[in-house]
């Protein structure tokens, strides 16, 4: 008999609108891995009734693409994804529906229709991070930052999927500063010092993550928190992602699409 492989009837509806979304990973849910988040978004899209478009083929996949995701355990106020839709929606309504369909802590902050050319990834060249370091004093951190900045290369090691790799962390760092800890957030135990690092890192290959920079600080200045803290329990938050301007500002990747008239290109 020899049946031919079962193929779905007809094709999938085409994409009629693309929407880019900024979302946050906050509090305990910063421990959501990218894989976990991708699954949660897919379900939230169904719950929220988002008219997502699907890829062609025998096992169609929803048209969702993610920009570089923050590492597991790192909080973020600026993660991005793009949705391909088979029906037009009001981006603001999509933002609210999707946010309501996700657990509190995975918060959808903004949705913008895409009018311009260029992928999300093209518009992301750097990230700003804020790192809380319990057990580290302001002086300790300032000294370490000064030592780091004085170097032209700071090599660190990390275990990657390809094995142990050594790479430079200094060159990727566009800005690094110890922030006075009077600004430390509520909830941090007052008795223990908690220095805060403000960091702008360029997107490079292999990627330099906030914990790599901490390793760098340890390499150049033996930065080590007092017991029982460790550098691994530092709390990092991505504050912004986008294009790094020569002035050192980060322009977020939705900016170009917020006001299509002003851009004047389609």
């Amino acid at each position: 008999m020899g049946r031919t492989k079962n193929q779905p009837e007809g094709g999938q509806a085409p994409v009629v609108q693309r929407v880019r979304v900024r979302y946050a990973k906050r509090g305990p849910l910063r421990f959501t891995s990218h894989r976990d988040f991708a699954r949660a978004v897919e379900r939230a899209i169904h719950r929220a009734g988002v008219p997502i478009a699907f890829s062609q083929g025998f096992t169609p996949h929803p048209k969702i693409s993610f920009a570089s995701a923050a590492p597991t355990g790192v909080a973020s106020e600026a993660e991005y994804l793009e949705l391909g839709l088979r029906e037009r929606v009001e981006p603001e309504a999509l933002c609210k529906a999707l946010d309501a369909a996700l657990s509190p802590g995975l918060d959808v902050l903004e949705a913008v229709e895409v009018h311009t050319a260029g992928s999300l990834a093209d518009r992301i060249t750097a990230s700003r991070w804020r790192i809380e370091l319990p057990g580290v004093s302001d002086d300790q951190l300032s000294t370490a930052v000064a030592a780091f900045v004085a170097q032209s290369e700071v090599l660190v090691e990390r275990l990657t999927k390809q094995g142990r790799r050594t790479f430079d962390t200094r060159d990727a760092v566009a800005a690094i500063e110890a922030v006075p800890s009077q600004t430390s957030p509520p909830g941090v135990v007052a008795t223990a010092p908690c220095a805060i690092l403000d960091l702008v890192v360029r997107q490079v290959t292999p990627s330099v993550r906030p914990d790599d920079v901490l390793s760098g600080l340890r390499v150049v200045a033996d930065l080590e928190p007092s017991a029982p803290h460790s550098l691994r329990s530092a709390r990092a938050t991505r504050l912004a992602q986008g294009t790094l301007t020569p002035q050192g500002e980060i322009v977020d990747p939705l900016e170009a699409d917020r006001d299509p008239v002003a851009i004047g290109e389609r």
């Binding site: 008999m1 849910l29 719950r47 999509l94 657990s103 995975l106």
Partner: protein, 650 residues
């Protein structure tokens, strides 16, 4: 302060361990209530890893039923992996709930659901991390009441020293009754302390409190008798049966985790109980009678559950799903309703019957075609009569051939090894059967591109089944049979290439057998194994046979018994079994007769279609079979997608 979150301490440890997401909660459907808002506070646990425990239906149902009550708070806890356990001990972080990260020791009641006995060591880890004394006798008013449930609770004797109480059977109504009793006692100012509340529970006759029973032994190690040591405590404790499942349509709001778990689907139980009468099947014996959910309730649950959860897969669960009186209409009706959507439907437990292929065809209309599994359980016609699995070889070949002809290229066949009266020949017959399946399949399809997988599980005799008296086979005999079977399958290279072979070795089954049919003396073995590092015994990479054998050798001789005594020894009719005072409704004389029928290869029909065979359950539990057909049909529904669901007030 009681009920305070331990998250700040836990948070420090999470960057240091694998898969921290499993410990932070945040699931859809999770309920967080203020500590002071509740009179009675439950913590529920499925004592295995989060990825296995979270999808557990029993815990999800009780969690929802309890949290629907305004004055009740229920949270969940799971077994933590050894990496986190070590850090929690070092940093003095207690066993916590995933919902609000409260310390387990702060709650009033600690309910543990055991679907397998291999979770016992994990219970000890949870108790110890919660700083609850391991022995029930050492606890006071400040500690939660530890309650065991689930199928293993039908013989909780091996864990009798560690639990305060056990509930047999369906939990929906039982947890609410226990809650009411505890609430009343607390309102009165907790008179009489722990002893009094346990006594009040015991007097219901449906909560078993081991400390109120004394076990006497004969000189040869057998049990002489089990008797209450308190006035007002019943001689026998009865199982609970929830009737009218349409009145209990849970879960309504299934938990949807962020972490990946073993079942990523919305499961609807389409009926409870089974009277097929497979003699090895404890689930079928202890959940009688059959109670169906109606076609309309099933459809409504599917609809609402999908909308709530965003899952795209639905499992229609039961012990033998194709036996629902309206399964044909359920499958075609749901397939109609979800045609053209990305929702896929599956029917996990099916019997060997061509009718199932029709159902599977209906369910795979949306394009996704999952594998088909059939469970003949025994390789030879003879052994299938012993276990009362009424499947002929012709049935099997016809069913599987139909599946191949309809486009399935892979089927899975499930068998057991180590069954009572089993010989080498019975097991080798599995190979012949698999060869015939492939031959017939190739003939029917004209294609060599078909496969089957033979999967073998070890038989474990369980309490409250006709095989509760049976001797287990020794692991080395099982392993020898499996090796011979593998050779036999590959004796024909052309056919063997198309047959996959999966099996577990006999050692874990023997330990499961010890725990399933053990008595209170086995508790000391469990404790010893746990002290020696035993954790996650249901996981082959963590299970150590050596550790169990050594603990048995150290502990059991003191009682005049040993591992063999509990496992490979056949029991006589007159022997008092450790669970005789626990009433599943099954008449012990009927079970014995069914055991004798097994030995004479006499088959017993299903009471849904033939007259009652007096297993004893319905009259003793005052229950009856609840089955359709209702005659109702599912109406087509408008496509699920009706635009964005923006919450009101957003």
């Amino acid at each position: 302060m009681r009920g305070e979150s331990v998250f700040p301490q836990l948070e420090q440890l999470l960057p240091l361990i694998s898969k921290p997401i499993q410990y932070v909660g945040g699931e859809l459907g999770a309920v967080v209530k203020p500590w002071e808002s509740a009179t009675v506070r439950w913590v529920l646990s499925y004592p295995d890893a989060y990825e296995v425990g979270l999808p557990n239906q029993g815990v999800q149902i009780l969690y929802e039923v309890l949290n629907e009550r305004e004055d009740v708070l229920a949270e969940r806890t799971y077994a933590v992996w050894p990496d986190l356990e070590k850090l929690m001990r070092e940093h003095d972080v207690p066993q916590f709930t995933v919902d609000s990260h409260r310390a387990v020791g702060d709650f009033d009641l600690f309910g543990l659901s055991f679907s397998t006995e291999l979770g016992y060591t994990n219970m000890l880890t949870e108790l110890s991390l919660a700083k609850i004394p391991l022995l029930a006798a050492d606890r006071d008013e400040s500690h939660p009441i530890v309650v065991a449930g689930g199928h293993a609770a039908f013989n909780p004797e091996p864990i009798a020293d560690f639990i305060d109480a056990a509930v047999l059977g369906d939990g929906e109504e039982a947890v609410l009754e226990i809650t009411d009793i505890v609430a009343a006692w607390k309102r009165e100012g907790s008179p009489g302390g722990r002893d009094e509340i346990l006594l009040r529970l015991a007097k219901t006759e449906s909560v078993y409190v081991p400390r109120f029973y004394d076990v006497d032994y004969l000189a040869d190690g057998r049990i002489q008798r089990v008797v209450p040591n308190r006035p007002g405590v019943p001689f026998r404790v009865h199982k609970r049966t929830t009737m009218d499942l349409d009145a209990w349509p849970y879960p309504k709001k299934p938990l949807v985790p962020l972490a990946e778990t073993v079942h990523e689907r919305f499961a609807v139980e389409i009926f409870r109980g089974c009277t097929r009468g497979c003699r090895f099947c404890q689930a079928g014996m202890i959940t009688r009678p059959v109670r169906e959910r109606s076609i309309t309730t099933v459809a409504q649950m599917v609809h609402e559950g999908l909308e709530f959860s965003g899952f795209t897969e639905v499992g229609l669960l039961s012990l033998s799903s194709a036996d629902h009186s309206e399964i044909g209409d359920i499958c075609s009706g749901l397939a109609d309703q979800y045609q053209g959507t990305n929702v896929s439907l599956s029917l996990p437990s099916t019997r060997v019957d061509a009718f199932n292929i029709d159902l599977a065809q209906e369910l795979s209309r949306n394009g996704r075609r999952t594998g088909l599994t059939f469970a003949p359980e025994g390789g030879s016609e003879r052994i299938r009569k012993v276990i009362n699995k009424m499947v002929t070889e012709e049935d099997l070949i016809r069913t599987v051939t139909t599946a191949y002809s309809n486009g399935w290229r892979q089927v899975k066949l499930y068998f057991m090894c180590g069954l009572p009266t089993e010989t080498d020949e019975d097991v080798l017959q599995i190979a012949r059967l698999a060869h015939n399946v492939i031959k017939s399949g190739r003939q029917a399809t004209g294609s060599k591109d078909i496969r089957c997988t033979v999967s073998i599980g070890g038989f474990v005799p369980k309490p409250h089944t006709p095989f509760q008296w049976a001797a287990m086979e020794r692991p080395e005999v099982i392993d020898g049979r499996l090796k011979a079977l593998k050779n036999e399958i590959n004796s024909d290279r052309s056919l063997g290439r198309a047959i996959g072979f999966r099996y577990h070795d006999g050692e874990p089954s023997l330990i499961e057998g010890l725990l399933a049919r053990g008595d209170r003396r086995v508790g000391a073995v469990i404790r010893k194994v746990w002290e020696e590092g035993g954790r996650f015994d249901g996981w082959s990479e963590h299970f150590s046979y050596r550790r169990w054998v050594d603990a048995c050798a150290e502990v059991l001789p003191g009682f005049g018994v040993d591992l063999d005594w509990f496992t490979t020894r056949e029991r006589e009719q007159s022997e008092v079994l450790p669970w005789d005072h626990l009433d599943s409704g099954l008449d012990k004389d009927w079970l014995w007769q069914d055991w004798q029928d097994a030995l004479t290869e006499y088959e017993q029909d299903d009471c849904r279609w033939t007259p009652c065979f007096d297993c004893g359950v319905c009259p003793s539990m005052d229950t009856q079979i609840q089955i359709g057909p209702t005659g109702r049909k599912l109406l087509p529904i408008t496509p699920v997608n009706t635009g964005l669901r923006v919450p009101a007030g957003a």
